[in-house]
């Protein structure tokens, strides 16, 4: 048990020594915090570090345990480049993630605007229809959806991986909250100007939500980029996105660890760069929305 902290200062005589105790205590706690958080952070990052370290080793050093990959080599990337069509995979994955994120942003914006700016019949029931989708697991709907995609003739195409994911409850909920936070006077003023609801959305609501839309867009993009279920099901034959191409290096006659790590590293790179650039904004937005 740690010694207890006395904040209640009994009298002026003891004040200096108590102050010193308090200071030492809080320093100790901060040090403990640094040690625990530091160890946890390192433990969390080791697999990610090992992924890139392995990918940058020369093929003959692939089993090396040295913490730093030296000499650096891009041979694994070259080999991966030869085995799978990396540019095509990157473009496909990007198109899929961008289309899904934009679609979810648009349907979320329209629905969020409807829920925030009007009061209408069946409003709560309809809101529940959106939220309840969280309870329906992908594995329950996959067989009927697979059959429908088959009828539409979009199996094994990128469109088949995009279309079923164009609406998400997450975007509706977040954008409803954001539209609500816009001062009502602004919407009123637009109405006084004789602008209709559609024009108000694009000239008043969207310009006011710039940062929020961008942050949510990044989040949705990351989710779509990392998505595995639908592409795995829809693109069974073509394996046309990065996440699925990883399977090419895992074979019955052994796994090619070097090129596998290189491709996995490329699959993570865009998202990690986005996170490095926007970390403050993503985390800040998250914490602030938790405060409300």
């Amino acid at each position: 048990m740690t010694p207890e902290l006395l904040v209640e200062v009994p009298g002026p005589v003891h004040a200096p020594s108590d102050g010193a105790v308090v200071l030492r205590e809080s320093r100790l706690r901060a040090a403990l915090g640094h040690v625990v958080l530091g160890l946890l952070g390192v433990a969390c990052i080791i697999p990610l570090y090992w992924l890139y370290a392995t990918s940058l080793r020369a093929p003959e050093n692939i089993y090396s345990l040295s913490p730093f990959p030296w000499p650096l080599s891009v041979a694994n990337y070259v080999e991966a480049w030869g085995a799978v069509n990396l540019p095509r995979l990157l473009v496909n994955t990007f198109v899929m993630a961008a289309m899904v994120a934009l679609g979810q942003l648009l349907t979320g914006l329209l629905a969020g605007y409807a829920f925030a700016a009007w009061r209408f019949r069946f409003q709560n029931a309809l809101y529940l229809v959106f939220i309840a989708t969280w309870l329906v697991p992908f594995q329950v709907t996959m067989v009927p959806n697979y059959a429908l995609l088959n009828q539409l003739g979009v199996l094994n195409t990128i469109a088949g991986a995009i279309i079923p994911n164009l609406c998400t409850a997450l975007a509706v909920i977040m954008l409803r909250t954001h539209v609500r936070s816009i001062p009502q006077e602004l919407l009123e003023a637009a109405r006084m100007d004789g602008r209709n609801a559609w024009a108000t959305l694009w000239t008043v609501v969207v310009p006011n939500l710039g940062p929020a839309l961008a942050a949510l867009g990044v989040l949705l993009f990351i989710n779509a980029w990392n998505e595995y279920f639908w592409p795995a099901l829809v693109l069974q034959r073509t394996n046309d996105v990065l996440q699925l191409a990883l399977h090419s290096f895992i074979g019955p006659e052994g796994t090619q660890w070097g090129p596998l790590m290189a491709t996995a590293g490329l699959a993570c790179l865009p998202v990690l760069i986005l996170y490095l650039v926007l970390q403050r904004r993503i985390v800040d937005g998250f914490v602030r929305s938790g405060l409300k």
Partner: protein
């Protein structure tokens, strides 16, 4: 506050104004429904229609081939399901997975969150970035690097520990590996949620408590944790509902439900029924049972939370 609350045109001649033409009333009420239409249409086509089809499908026997007709079999699928030993076993394994993940989604995030309050400045941002990073790693890429680290001969884990365990080929250690890897993915998210919850608690409460002579541990136990209970029950609910979902890409990539079924949880079982043994009816029946079961769990937990939560009024 709403655009609909436009004052109605002054009713000068009362009887005439009552009969506003129907098309004008419709036109005035239409906008919110029109804005909802695209999203609703997508949900109906891709979530609710398949849910209804899954209900129908659960009463049929069908092998997923467009050419072969589905045969009605009544409640046979449900009967078969409950007779299969796999079914009960997969539920048991899912329970183990959920219990194993609780340290990662509740215990460690709370401890870290409490400690992190004493760490400020740039270092705090760096720790946060490190702990959150695994959340952003694509599940399949994460699976690939862990498979590499757990390789029995050349992997980092065995060579550092000096062991020769074939982690992914022995039932106990395979389940442990799935728990640890899934935990690694979600730890950052849970930590961030707890941090947000702690930031929302007014620091005046603990200041008042320590003025009253409460020790630090007492303050944490009787004040901070109860005030944090809505956050904790949210994380508990997410773990219960999503644990099997989180581990799915991992299982599908590296263990394929094995060895000898040791990592087959409920969602992998569904996947296997539909696309492994092409028994669509059985898969649909199992899916519905799990859907109803999880719906019930969610309902009970939300009710319990409402009753037991200690609210900051």
């Amino acid at each position: 506050m709403t655009l609909l609350e436009v004052p109605a045109p002054p009713r000068l001649s009362a009887p005439a104004a009552v009969t506003i033409p129907w098309w004008r009333r419709v036109a005035r009420a239409a906008p919110p429904y029109l804005f909802l239409a695209p999203g609703l249409a997508l949900l109906v086509v891709w979530t609710y229609r398949p849910l209804v089809s899954a209900v129908q499908l659960s009463f049929y026997s069908w092998n997923l081939l467009p050419t072969s007709p589905a045969r009605p079999v009544g409640f046979d699928n449900f009967g078969r399901l409950f007779a299969l030993p796999d079914f009960g076993a997969s539920i048991g394994r899912t329970a183990v997975l959920i219990l194993g993940l609780l340290p990662f989604t509740l215990v460690v995030p709370v401890v870290v969150g409490l400690l992190a309050r004493h760490v400020r400045g740039r270092a705090a941002t760096v720790y946060q970035a490190l702990v959150f990073a695994p959340m952003l790693v694509a599940p399949v890429a994460g699976a690939a690097v862990w498979q590499w680290m757990l390789d029995p001969r050349a992997g980092l884990v065995n060579r550092v520990l000096g062991t020769t365990t074939n982690w992914l080929q022995e039932p106990g250690s395979a389940q442990l590996a799935v728990i640890v890897i899934t935990g690694w993915h979600v730890l950052g998210f849970a930590t961030l949620v707890v941090a947000a919850g702690l930031a929302g608690i007014d620091s005046e409460y603990s200041a008042a408590a320590s003025l009253d002579g409460a020790t630090r541990w007492q303050t944490t136990r009787w004040l901070t944790l109860p005030l944090l209970s809505p956050t904790l029950s949210f994380l508990l609910l997410m773990t219960l509902l999503l644990a099997a979902q989180w581990s799915f890409p991992l299982i599908n990539t590296i263990t394929h439900g094995g060895p000898s079924g040791a990592t087959t949880n409920i969602y992998f079982l569904l996947w296997d029924y539909a696309f492994g043994s092409f028994d669509a009816g059985l898969g649909a029946a199992a899916g519905l049972v799990f859907f109803l079961g999880f719906g019930l769990i969610a309902l009970v937990l939300v009710r319990l939370t409402e009753r037991l939560s200690f609210h900051d009024s």
